[in-house]
């Protein structure tokens, strides 16, 4: 797993790649916790996210609560069909605004 952070418009752009499992999810959680404290608007690029288990979903849920509690925006985009199915089974597709592409995510109405 790797996590990279950039900037686009007023959004922090975070790319999570590879496999997020329960061995490395604490690293992701620490990163997202720090990000969630300082950022108001966040886009997460999932195009190269190959795998995520419940512990990685927990890290994303924590970030969503941090961002929503301060009235911010968190959007995910470019989930593979396999990752999208994990979100659906978990019921997370109802919490996370999910978009097909970076363009769709950054231009969505708030």
């Amino acid at each position: 797993m790797t996590v990279r952070e950039g900037k686009i418009d007023s959004f922090a752009l975070v790319e999570v790649t590879g496999r997020v499992n329960s061995e490395n999810s604490e690293t992701l959680k620490d990163f997202l916790q720090e990000l969630g404290k300082r950022e108001q608007q966040v886009l997460i690029d999932c195009s190269a996210l190959e795998y995520i288990s419940s512990s990685g979903l927990g890290a994303l849920l924590m970030l969503l609560k941090l961002i929503q509690n301060k009235g911010g925006i968190l959007r995910l985009f470019s989930l593979s069909p396999r990752i999208a199915e994990v979100f659906e089974i978990s019921g997370f597709d109802k919490f996370f605004p999910i978009f097909s592409s970076l363009e769709a995510a950054r231009r969505a109405d708030t």
């Binding site: 288990s53 849920l61 969503l64 994990v86």
Partner: protein
């Protein structure tokens, strides 16, 4: 492609064994020509079970072994996970309510919820010295790798 295939592996009760477990599942599925979508589900279900055992299964800090067997025939894959931890049937855990509001959601119980939905059957067997969980994944024609 071999239709009947089996493999067994003993792994230490450590999350560092997750990558070796992923490798074993990948090799098994490729030899058996299992569709990558099905491989993904098996991989995920096994991680959730394995992690549960590592995190909650033992009352001591001694090293333990977790035995995993994967067996397939033409129609299904059968996975068994055996540990020597304290008796615990994860299938008796309360069913996760995925309809609750965000503020009430946590990830407690999400792992076994995923396992139930990714697999076709999950059975628990209490053993004298531990637990055995059996996971069954049926292979559908459209799921087989061509």
């Amino acid at each position: 492609m071999k239709v009947n295939e089996s493999v067994e592996v003993k792994l230490p009760n450590s999350l560092s064994a997750l990558e070796p477990l992923h490798t074993v599942v990948g090799q098994f599925c490729r030899r058996r020509a299992i569709h990558p979508d099905t491989e993904f589900k098996i991989d995920l279900a096994l991680e959730e079970i394995f992690t549960n055992i590592v995190r909650h299964g033992y009352d001591d800090s001694h090293p333990h072994e977790i035995m995993i067997r994967l067996r397939s025939n033409r129609d299904r894959i059968r996975i068994s996970v055996e540990d020597d931890g304290r008796h615990f049937n994860p299938l008796l855990a309360p069913v996760l309510d995925v309809t609750v509001a965000l503020s009430e959601r946590s990830v407690g119980g999400l792992g076994i919820h995923l396992v139930r939905h990714l697999m076709d059957q999950v059975r628990y067997q209490r053993r004298t010295n531990g637990n055995r969980l059996i996971l069954i994944k049926r292979l559908r024609k459209e799921e087989k790798r061509t």
